[in-house]
């Protein structure tokens, strides 16, 4: 593996985009770049440009809390995210990059009888569809994570949890760079500072994009624009089932002891893990107003700190170092949208909300296959855009809610 300092030097070639490609991908986040990577490496389609309006990873792919897990609540999601877990487990080897991928195990704690029932159901459905999740008692929780206060500060007593041993984290910007570099090694062009300002349409099909650096034609355009996907839809006359909500996160200073697992609580809508530097990284639920503002708020700090300290009293002695925000593309059913659209040649990967980092490998793999063959592979087929019209929504709020 290369050393980290070398990794920062990605050899971008700062030339102008060409006037035509087979595929133009709008958005240099994890999903756009992974799709380019799999198009080039699995399907031999390398005449591809990724157009990023800022720098790659500037969106949510460089702002998230990096939780990787497959303990979702519906069969379609469990299967899909389990595939992504497995691709992540091999990604360092495949890309020859140190992604700081670490399997840590994840505890999802329940504080009430309904919560316990929900976690038992999660364990059952996960096991049935290929993810490893088991129900654990408070005594077992104390063994896995001795820092948990089982009395929940007298407010949220710990009644049980599910344990998901394959829960993991990885360094987010390294994942973005690894996919970008891997794609470029196979001939893909990545152009930063290149916003797409319009879509070129001819009848019912897309023929290219407009940019300040000139028009670019393409037979296929993929919108992978994160929280800004609605604007791209509008350029094609499409209305999308997406609302953009801010999601905040925070990190503390260094905690000198090791904190092994990722710990989440559905009742408290809060989760925490330790970074490689020893900082405690935590997140919670989305802000209630749809918004594109990156402003961070005091309320988030206050309630996150309160919940965190109640469950993990040692956090009391730490200090908040940083707080930040990303703009999440929330879907109505809390499931992603990986799909063709009514506009021929125009594809979407969106609805990644607060949960799409873990999905970057499997999402990119699935979208590349869809673009290359015109048919959605089985794993992503349920996540089509037309599911809303067909009354086949994939409600998964309980497990997608926060991370």
């Amino acid at each position: 593996m290369t050393n980290p300092d070398q990794e920062r030097r990605i050899a971008f070639e700062w030339r102008e985009p060409r006037s035509a490609y087979d595929v133009v991908i709008v958005g240099g986040g994890g999903h756009g770049l992974a799709t380019a990577y799999y198009l080039a490496t699995r399907h031999g389609i390398a005449n591809v440009a990724v157009l990023e309006r800022s720098y790659i990873g500037s969106g949510n792919s460089g702002r998230n809390t990096t939780v990787i897990r497959a303990n979702y609540g519906i069969p379609e999601a469990v299967r899909f995210y389990q595939r992504s877990i497995e691709l992540y487990q091999r990604l360092e080897e495949e890309t020859e990059r140190d992604l700081m991928h670490r399997q840590k195990g994840l505890l999802w704690i329940a504080h009430s009888e309904p919560g316990v029932r929900a976690e038992r159901a999660r364990a059952a459905i996960n096991t049935a569809f290929g993810a490893r999740t088991e129900f654990v008692t408070p005594e077992e929780i104390a063994r896995i994570c001795p820092q948990v206060d089982l009395s929940g500060g007298g407010i949220w007593p710990v009644r049980g949890a599910t344990y998901h041993p394959e829960g993991a984290t990885a360094r987010h910007d390294r994942v973005v760079w690894a996919y970008a570099e891997g794609a470029m090694r196979h001939g893909v062009e990545v152009h930063q500072r290149t916003p797409v300002t319009g879509l070129r349409l001819d009848g019912g099909r897309v023929t290219g994009v407009e940019t300040p650096r000139g028009p670019i034609s393409a037979g296929v355009v993929l919108a992978a624009a994160g929280g800004h996907v609605t604007a791209l839809g509008e350029m094609a006359g499409l209305r999308l089932p997406i609302r953009s909500h801010p999601l905040q996160a925070l990190v503390t200073n260094h905690y000198e002891r090791r904190f092994e697992p990722i710990v989440a609580s559905a009742d408290l809508l809060f989760y925490v893990s330790q970074t490689a530097r020893g900082e405690m990284l935590m997140g919670a639920e989305i802000d209630r107003q749809p918004s594109y503002s990156y402003r961070s708020g005091h309320h988030f700090l206050q309630y996150t700190a309160f919940r965190a300290i109640t469950l993990l009293p040692f956090l009391r002695d730490l200090r908040v170092l940083r707080q930040w925000t990303g703009i999440c593309d929330m879907s109505p059913d809390y499931s992603p949208i990986m799909s063709a659209t009514p506009v021929e040649g125009l594809y979407l990967t969106t609805g990644w909300g607060t949960w799409g980092f873990k999905a970057i490998p499997a999402g990119g793999e699935g979208m590349a296959a869809l673009i290359a063959t015109g048919e959605p592979p089985e794993l992503i087929a349920p996540f089509s855009l037309d599911r809303f019209a067909k009354d086949r929504t994939l409600a998964d709020r309980g497990s997608a809610g926060t991370h």
Partner: protein, 78 residues
């Protein structure tokens, strides 16, 4: 600072006291009744810029108010 919502009854209060209410605006161009229902149920304008929305002051006077807000800045517009 998080978002502050001006309540006509209670004055300016933090957003956490309110419940959000989108005003669904189905475009005139959609004429088919089923397509209008679908749009109303699932689709969102999700504008980057000024938006008219409803807020319910759940932890206050428990009345609805209408607010104009710029979603790029969270500034409430007069």
């Amino acid at each position: 600072m998080s978002l502050v919502i001006p309540c006509p009854n209670c004055g300016s209060r933090p957003v956490e006291e309110f419940v959000y209410g989108e005003v669904p605006l189905v475009p005139e161009s959609i004429t088919d009744p089923d397509a209008r229902d679908l749009d109303r149920a699932f689709m969102h304008g999700n504008p980057e810029g000024p938006v008219v929305e409803r807020w319910f002051h759940a932890a206050g006077c428990r009345r609805w108010t209408t607010v104009r807000r710029d979603t790029r800045t969270d500034q409430v517009l007069g």
